[in-house]
């Protein structure tokens, strides 16, 4: 069962057991609502702001610990936890949506573990950047699925052992199922050119990341000097061909990441930035975790027909089993964006008509989302009839293309 936990800010609150913030306002508190299967909305409650803030403080100093999971689970409002318990008759998918780094950056995967122990049922956690309209249907990818691994190692940053990083990842990828290309020392331009020519289905980044003013950056190479060039989500998104439906952002393990939180901030970029669904690292991990998780993840992505949520769970379980005394498994996190949990449909064949319908459905969907955003910006009025009509036409096109895809697949 899919349960969406939606956080929104509720104002600043005084927390007596915490040092007074310099703003003298107290920590920001959040209202949490629960949505079941994207339809029923349960009443809101207020998350405990002191606990959220103290977990956030602790994570500045250290990697997450399992107690952080129970702290996060219990900071949820009691009525929300009770509503979740009521639905604990099978596996639960908790999807966290907030749009705020102070919530998104917390290790909610561990909260899922704590909840699972309390409920006696598996509770999976993923993140969710809501798009305004339902996304277009999955793109069909035929085997071999194409992966572009982008590795960076700028000379003014802590230097990685690039070969070891790539080997740990690539050794587990089945070459019968995947066609892999590796781009070393990538610049923004070389990565864009490679994506245009190779048209990968998966873009897998390995390297440092950075964070600035709440936005995340990948650390690529300056084309002239080979030094660091931070590239933001907006710029990467503009260079992505429509074939890229999954983004994987791996932190480096042969060196300490410059700022690993940059990966999460990148993946949580606002919905208007056209990034695909992403699998990321939220904190540092070791080589064994890299080898185990990605081997199983890529294996299961084929088995599950392109469902990355299923692949994520399999990868997390395998990592936990391989390193039972470690929380490395919880570093791997799914941020569902455009494409949701199933951004790819991995099939045996695809005809030209189906391909045309699929890519047109993708772009019709993007147009509809942009028009919906614009309509939201202008308050509805008699003047917005034309915009409403355009939106309706764009949505109709998405439906038509989707219908054509179904017909094509059936035939």
């Amino acid at each position: 069962m899919e349960l969406i936990l939606h956080f929104r800010p509720a104002g600043h609150e005084y927390a007596p057991d915490l040092p007074t913030p310099s703003s003298n306002k107290g920590p920001l508190s959040f209202l949490v609502s629960l949505m079941v299967n994207r339809e029923d909305l349960f009443d809101e409650g207020r998350a405990d702001p002191g606990t959220l803030m103290s977990v956030e403080h602790d994570l500045f100093r250290r990697n997450p610990e399992s107690t952080d999971g129970s702290r996060l689970w219990t900071c949820l409002p009691e009525q929300i936890r009770a509503a979740i318990k009521l639905r604990a008759d099978g596996e639960i998918w908790l999807k966290i949506a907030s749009g705020m780094p102070s919530v998104d950056n917390l290790p909610w995967e561990l909260a899922g573990q704590a909840a699972g122990m309390e409920l006696g049922r598996p509770v999976r956690v993923s993140r969710f950047v809501p798009v305004r309209l339902p996304p277009a249907p999955a793109l069909t990818a035929t085997l071999p699925v194409r992966i572009l691994i982008v590795v960076t190692n700028p000379k003014d940053e802590r230097l990685l052992d690039s070969n070891r990083e790539v080997y740990a990842l690539r050794a587990g990828i089945d070459s019968n199922q995947y066609e892999v290309q590796v781009l070393q020392e990538a610049t923004a331009d070389s990565a864009a050119a490679m994506m245009q020519s190779f048209q990968p289905h998966v873009l897998h980044y390995v390297g440092h990341s950075g964070a600035n003013r709440g936005s995340g950056y990948l650390v690529l190479h300056d084309p002239n000097r080979g030094t660091t060039e931070w590239v933001g989500a907006d710029d990467i998104a503009k260079a992505l061909p429509v074939s890229v439906r999954v983004g994987c952002l791996s932190t480096c393990f042969t060196q300490q990441n410059f700022d690993v939180t940059g990966l999460a901030l990148f993946a949580h970029a606002p919905a208007t930035v056209r990034l695909p669904t992403m699998v990321i690292n939220r904190f540092s991990i070791d080589e064994k975790a890299v080898q185990t998780f990605w081997r199983v993840f890529y294996e299961q992505m084929i088995t599950a027909g392109g469902n990355v949520a299923a692949a994520l769970v399999a990868g997390q379980q395998a990592t936990a089993a391989a390193e039972p005394n470690s929380l490395n498994w919880a570093s791997f996190s799914l941020v569902a964006r455009d494409g949701g949990d199933q951004p790819l449909h991995i099939g045996q064949q695809r005809d030209a008509g189906q391909f045309a319908s699929e890519v047109q459905a993708q772009f019709a969907s993007r147009l509809a989302a942009d028009l919906a955003d614009k309509l939201r910006a202008f308050s509805p009025s008699s003047q917005s009839e034309s915009l409403t009509r355009s939106l309706s036409e764009a949505q109709q096109r998405v439906r038509e293309y989707t219908k054509r895809i179904s017909k094509s697949v059936t035939e």
């Binding site: 772009f363 147009l367 355009s390």
Partner: protein
């Protein structure tokens, strides 16, 4: 508002070197005019330093600002001048007029006093009875480098064309370009929708692009970003400049003299606005030795100097400007500037008021904008209200929404064009639907506009001919006499090929190409007959497509002038052209 003028000249005292002499050149009470002796006291360099250090005014410091304003008043007036000024303010008020206060500055290389004349913050003038003068709408304060105004206002048929150059090169503190751009766009949204103003951004903000842009006719050039005073390149002479960007987004300083030369070749630019930092400051002393320069070397002063035949007014900043103050200024300034009947100093004063309201009491940001001008009748542009030009707020809102939709479609077409070729081929059907959608949206805009001239775009591949139809649509029967328009294309996208007769025209129009501006002229359009209410094709214009990147381009109509028997306003609708690559 109707203004009387109080014009005070400050010039070197020819009889006593190193001192200033005051003369009232113009006054609503004529008998008070004439030489008035020397100012009371020099302006202290320490006061200037205090004013220019924004840290002294965090959260506001009204007491300090009043003290500086009083000192500035003493530095540019004396008892006799102040008495004449008070009498003039009272006299103007009796007539229900405002009093325009203009300081006519005659600087020299060897200036008197510790602070250069043009560096005295005249805009801060304060005296207890009148309070601060410059932010009051009935006492606007401005500067001139001439004894008398000598430039007539440019009679303007809308749209007023504004070119914004917003640069934030790497390696300098990031300027809030996005906020400034958004503020200007927001301030002018309705005016743009109504075609009273046309707003373009110089992208990329490079010297090459600026020179190219200035080959088409703009009325206002607005710089946003960093400026300063210092050496540029290997030239040892310090001078005022604004920063553009080079091709690698690195700083490229454009000094006042270079900008002056660029603008001399582009006579339609009458107003320059510079909301950079320090852009009105003069060169500092170099290595302890005062730099021998006249006030003309300041960026603003340079553009209005002797020999410049075009620019009538410059609005620039005299010290560092906070980004939020710059935004508030731009928004209020342009809104006022295009209001018929509003004078230029009135527009600047409205903008001072907006800055004052946006910041704490006692913040000196409103002192910052300096208006140098030489315009007769207080106007740099004479924006005439035209019969039929007004649109209802409902129609304006609909137009804004249609434009917003067109932008969304174009952005998505751009994204589609960035896809690999096989994906683009697969999306041909959707792309054509979206192109038709854009054409329909433009048609809907046309239907809201009343009488309109439209250049219809179309679709063509690289190497093919794009035929644009020039039509005129009448909402009421009319006899069409003469027709003139400039058609501006982007030279990277098209080569002009030919102009032909439209299906409703007797012959091909007169035409001439200069650069990328095609002039189309037709006399006796309807050949003396009264044309009925419908759309008529009066010409065709052919272009050869050179590039499919970007996939959409606009071909603009400018300086539209249609004469009929009655005063009638025609709006212009630009063409949107859709380009595709040549088949492989």
């Amino acid at each position: 508002m109707i203004y009387d003028e109080f014009r005070l000249q400050i010039s070197p005292d020819l009889k006593q070197a190193g001192t200033w002499s005051l003369e009232i050149l113009k006054c609503p009470i004529p008998q008070l005019s004439g030489p008035q002796g020397a100012p009371d006291a020099p302006f202290a360099a320490t006061d200037l330093a205090i004013l220019r250090n924004l840290d002294n005014f965090r959260g506001g410091n009204l007491l300090k600002l009043k003290a500086i304003g009083s000192a500035a008043f003493s530095a540019v007036t004396n008892n006799a001048v102040r008495a004449a000024l008070q009498a003039s303010i009272a006299h103007a008020a009796q007539q229900q007029h405002g009093l325009r206060i203009v300081f006519s500055l005659v600087p020299t290389e060897q200036e008197a006093g510790p602070v250069r004349l043009s560096e005295i913050p005249i805009e801060a003038l304060y005296e207890p009875r009148s309070n601060f003068l410059a932010p009051q709408i009935n006492t606007p304060v401005s500067r001139s480098l001439q004894a008398q105004p000598d430039r007539d206002a440019l009679a303007l048929t809308p749209p007023l064309r504004v070119l914004v150059i917003a640069a934030s090169p790497t390696g300098l503190p990031p300027a809030d370009i996005a906020q400034e751009r958004a503020a200007i766009t927001d301030a002018l949204a309705n005016l743009v929708a109504n075609r009273i103003v046309e707003l373009d951004f110089c992208d990329p903000p490079t010297r090459v692009e600026l020179a190219r842009r200035l080959t088409t006719k703009y009325h206002v050039v607005h710089f946003v970003g960093h400026g300063g005073v210092g050496r540029t390149g290997s030239d040892p002479s310090p001078r005022a400049f604004v920063f553009l960007q080079d091709a690698n987004k690195k700083p490229d300083s454009l000094d006042g003299e270079s900008l002056d030369l660029l603008l001399r070749n582009n006579p339609s630019v009458r107003l320059v606005v510079i909301t950079g930092c320090s852009t009105a400051r003069l060169p500092p002393a170099v290595e302890g030795v005062p730099f021998a320069a006249t006030a003309y070397d300041g960026m603003a002063q340079r553009l209005l100097g002797a020999g410049n035949a075009n620019v009538s007014a410059v609005v620039a900043m005299q010290f560092d400007l906070d980004a939020s103050a710059a935004s508030a200024f731009s928004k209020a300034f342009y809104s006022s500037l295009v209001t018929p009947g509003t004078t230029l100093d009135e527009a600047v004063t409205q903008a001072r008021g907006a800055v004052m309201s946006a910041l704490p009491v006692g913040d000196p940001a409103w002192v910052n904008p300096v208006l140098y001008w030489r315009c007769t009748d207080g106007k740099v542009f004479d924006v005439h209200p035209i019969v039929g030009a007004e649109l209802s707020p409902d129609v304006e809102a609909q137009l804004a929404l249609l434009n917003a939709q067109i932008d969304v479609y174009r952005k998505n077409l751009d994204q589609m064009a960035a896809q690999p070729p096989d994906i683009q081929a697969a999306m041909a059907g959707l792309r054509q639907q979206m192109q038709s959608d854009i054409e329909n949206l433009v048609t809907q805009s046309g239907q809201l506009l009343g009488h309109a001239v439209r250049l219809w775009g179309g679709r063509a591949r690289v190497g093919e001919i794009l035929r644009c139809r020039l039509t005129i649509r009448l909402r009421a029967p009319a006899v069409l006499q003469s027709f003139r328009v400039h058609v501006v294309h982007e030279p990277e996208g098209f080569d002009w090929v030919a102009v032909g007769a439209g299906s409703n025209a007797a012959a091909a129009p007169l035409s001439g190409l200069a650069g990328n501006v095609l002039t189309v002229a037709i006399d006796d359009v309807s050949r003396g007959t009264r044309w009925a209410e419908q759309e008529y094709e009066i010409a065709t214009i052919d272009y050869r497509v050179k590039s499919a990147t970007p996939p959409t381009r606009t071909i603009k109509l400018r300086d539209l002038n249609v004469t009929t028997g009655d005063p009638t306003f025609f709006r212009a609708l630009d063409a949107i052209a859709f380009m595709e690559s040549a088949p492989q």
